[in-house]
Symmetry: C2
């Protein structure tokens, strides 16, 4: 069983590669829900949606979010009604939000709602929200504290970030199955997701970081930082705001306590060499996922290095 | 001030004619809400929607309901998710349901939500739901008791109707402004709507029938029955189920206690003559609204006969 921690568009791309080289029943995806928002009265879970769409083969590859070929007529009409329209919900996309909102109104958990929706869409891999409780990523900026989607989508991550917190995290619990999945995994992978606001919220749920520390499986991460900048989105800005170097060293630092293998881009070979001196196993490969082939190639490369890590552990355990 | 009681597609067509010959600020439309339903977790008010779309110039004239040129991508996606999809909600249409549902969740009344939506869509005429309380038209059939939309849309009004009731009516109150509008109207018109399930629920709200009886304004109705059958929909079946003749005489009987003028189709001239003998003022004209011209012509004819009724009253009051 391969367990992946993910959030954001980089994570969705990585999962898109993995699903093509790993049987779905061997994949458990633990997903960030810190970006979840109530939009038009509906419960929207952007990262769960992206992973659901990826695994259902529905994700728009052009946009990296939402449903391929989706239309935006309801959004347009909402704008005409004076409703907020900065968060782009497609007409097809709306169906998942309406369905989830109804399931939650029927007192199902986010975990149960996710499972039910996945079932309807024929998704065979297991998608687990990090928690059934509400954990909200809040970004403090000079204009005030913003939700992640306000910061990221509405305001185009233009505001200087003073701090980031995960409201509700202390009182949250991992969703059923999360700890067990990590405990019994053969491999744990952190997708090339923003370490602050995609992986950060997951690690803020009490018990998850501890489970990673305790895991017998090797834990690998793919760096979302290439050549000193984020491949996409505000990862760099957010890392800097948290005092992390915007580099693969920053990623290594964010995960230092539980990480076994860091997969970085060939362009970071030099920094990789330095990192290795500090005791990290660092593997260089092409990490930019521009098309289907590069996604599959990255997935294969990551599985291969993780397998090597596993073998070397087994070898060292052999008397 | 002209007050119109309406429901259904015939009513929407009639209002479409009226709005072209009467300034919007002189129109108050009191609308049936007995068909309202919770659909995909959203509060849908089919008759309020139709009247709103008519007055905003948005109604699909081909379908007689919903928004012209609307698309149905969300509906399609809901079907793929295994959600019910027999009630056809368009993508544009969804916006009004989402907006209303949010306003109601904010504890606004249906009346306030309607006003707010009308304001956004530039509707200047006043639309009043018959009541802010939930009154549900329930149709008893051999397969069980159905909501109106289940009976009408889901099951194509194929089930024999044993009885009709308006659940919640006894405890309901007219929406704010309804009684005052009837009391101070210059004319009251009943649209060519189904007398059982479009006008019936309105009359079942305590105080509305009494207000019509007490009104000093002449009350006119346009018959939805032409030549012994309903122009559209289940009006005939439902009238028969309630022991009313399926004819203009049945319409006269349904409204006998407060009606002053009945406008019927030329094809019913013979029955009209008989009706007049029993003391009713009956006016014959073309009532079938096939296009914009016939809608306007009917509106003009109705206003003209109502004006004659008003003058004759004034004359008879003159010493």
């Amino acid at each position: 069983m391969i367990v992946v921690l993910t959030g954001g568009t980089g994570g969705a791309k990585f999962v898109d590669g993995l699903r093509q080289v790993v049987p779905p029943e061997e994949l458990t995806i633990i997903v960030n829900t810190g970006d979840d928002l109530i939009w038009w009265g509906l419960y929207v879970s952007p990262d769960i949606d992206s992973i659901t769409y990826v695994l259902a083969g529905l994700l728009s590859k052009e946009r990296g979010w939402g449903v391929k070929g989706d239309t935006f007529y309801c959004l347009q009409a909402m704008g005409q009604l004076g409703q907020p329209n900065w968060f782009h919900v497609g007409d097809h996309d709306l169906a998942i939000h309406l369905t989830r909102t109804q399931l939650l109104a029927e007192k199902k958990t986010l975990c149960e709602a996710t499972r039910e929706i996945c079932g309807k869409l024929g998704v065979q891999a297991r998608i687990l929200p990090m928690s059934d409780s509400r954990v909200e990523t809040r970004v403090l900026t000079p204009v005030g504290e913003l939700s992640f989607e306000e910061y990221f989508v509405q305001r185009w991550y233009q505001d200087p970030v003073q701090s980031v917190r995960f409201a509700g995290a202390e009182d949250s619990k991992p969703a059923p199955g999360v700890i067990e999945a990590i405990r019994t995994a053969d491999l744990v992978l952190l997708a090339p997701s923003n370490p602050i606001t995609s992986i950060g919220p997951i690690l803020a749920v009490p018990g998850i970081r501890e489970a990673l520390l305790a895991s017998r499986a090797p834990v690998g991460a793919v760096s979302p930082i290439v050549g000193g900048t984020a491949v996409s989105g505000p990862a760099g800005i957010l890392m800097a705001s948290q005092g992390l170097p915007v580099s693969i060293a920053g990623i290594a630092k964010a995960y230092h306590d539980f990480l076994d293998v860091l997969v970085v881009d060939d362009r970071d070979a030099e920094t990789a060499t330095q990192l290795r001196r500090s005791g990290f196993r660092v593997h260089c490969t092409r990490t930019i996922m521009r098309n289907a082939e590069s996604k599959v190639a990255l997935a294969r490369a990551v599985l291969s290095v993780m397998s090597a890590e596993k073998s070397s552990r087994t070898a060292s355990e052999t008397p």
